[in-house]
């Protein structure tokens, strides 16, 4: 091989190497916190096969803003609400998947992603994407828990969003809940994965008693586990957005179908107080809406129970 060819080959190698090293997604916090909160759900990614209609849907309903990254080669948009980063959106049409995978994916904080992935494998979970660098954001692994619920493990580079007093803003993520086939098995797995303590509640509903488990770290409620309420539905994580009150919930639901979405569960009274509904966006990705007042506390919730 002559000198010129060597230079050409070297040039290609350098160009591709530079490409690989450039990949980076912004951190999930405005500034480095330096603190990791394993067991906290710190992020939400939306996979959608209708990215344009999805943006209109969430912008109209909740005032979210979608922001493309400067590098157009990266299939990722940031989602902001009132200036705060709350999630990301991926265009499913640009992925090689054969199935329609439109859905919301929760991002669970871990301190050691390699170890967490190993734990998940040993427990019978599936690893779709082994720990992978996202540059400034840190590392991600895309997995399914042993019962098949999809989630992402995130080891942030600069720290996780810190806990704040009071509820999140209206239109932001309020809660995350696993609909499991085997609640006890799910509890066992997630306690192995993260340093959770568990509080068990029995909720009286019109359909009878439902066991509900609250996963906590440092006395902070992080997520819930409940029996899968729908026959034949794959176990999955369901995220809840905060809605101010019943009037706002009704107003949102009135606009769901005109914007191309579906109402999966209409506004329904919760035994603990407030209302809940479940909707799907234009891609079919479902999300729950729950009313939550600014001063809602455990005591108030308990008083309202039957």
């Amino acid at each position: 091989m002559n000198t010129q060819r060597w230079i050409v080959l070297l040039s290609f190698t350098l160009a591709l190497g530079a490409c690989a090293s450039q990949f980076s997604v912004p951190p999930i916090t405005r500034s480095a916190t330096g603190e990791h909160l394993p067991g906290k759900i710190i992020w939400h990614d939306l996979l959608t096969d209708t990215p344009v209609r999805t943006q209109v849907f969430y912008t109209e309903l909740f005032g979210w803003k979608f922001e493309a990254l400067p590098d157009k080669g990266i299939n990722y948009m940031l989602i902001r609400h009132q200036g705060e980063l709350i999630g990301g959106m991926i265009d499913q049409n640009r992925l090689p998947n054969e199935k329609d995978i439109s859905q919301w994916v929760v991002g669970l904080s871990v301190t050691n992603i390699e170890e967490a992935t190993r734990t998940l494998r040993e427990a019978g979970g599936a690893v779709f994407t082994a720990p992978t660098s996202l540059g400034d954001r840190g590392y991600i692994a895309v997995v399914a828990d042993p019962q098949g619920a999809l989630l992402a493990l995130l080891q942030t580079r600069d720290g996780d969003p810190l806990d704040v007093k009071g509820p999140p803003a209206v239109g932001q993520f309020l809660w995350n809940e696993l609909w499991a086939e085997d609640v006890a098995g799910a509890e066992q797995f997630y306690r192995r994965l993260s340093p959770y303590t568990v509080e068990q509640e029995t909720l009286e509903t019109r359909d009878g008693e439902v066991e509900y488990r609250i996963l906590k770290t440092g006395n902070k409620p992080r997520a819930g586990i409940r029996p899968n309420p729908v026959d034949g539905l794959q176990p999955m994580w369901v995220s809840y957005l905060r809605v101010a009150d019943a009037a706002q919930l009704d107003a949102i639901l009135d606009n769901v179908e005109p914007l191309g979405g579906r109402i999966l569960v209409p506004a329904t009274a919760r035994p603990g107080g407030g209302m809940v509904a479940i909707i799907a966006g234009p891609s079919g990705a479902g999300i729950a809406l729950q009313t939550w007042s600014d001063d809602q506390t455990l005591e108030q919730q308990l008083e309202k129970r039957p």
Binding site: L16, R226, V230, T268
Partner: protein
């Protein structure tokens, strides 16, 4: 000199192609094989459940944040 110019052109073209093709995107969701369950969820439309699927028969009367 000619060799250097050629190399420079190659780097430029390769870089542009690489960026445009998104070669640097690891596509972390690219091997997910789990579909959303909502397509089988049924739904609620004009006061009735069940359109669009065979799924839900009851409303979800619990769930969500407790405190």
């Amino acid at each position: 000199m000619k060799t250097i110019i050629t190399a420079f052109k190659v780097v430029l073209v390769a870089s542009v192609v690489a960026v445009l093709s998104g070669c640097d995107d690891p596509q972390v969701y690219g091997s997910v094989g789990i579909s959303s369950g909502y397509s089988n969820y049924g739904g609620y439309h004009h006061g009735r459940y069940g359109y669009g699927g065979s799924g839900v028969r009851t409303s979800i009367s619990v769930g969500g944040r407790i405190y």
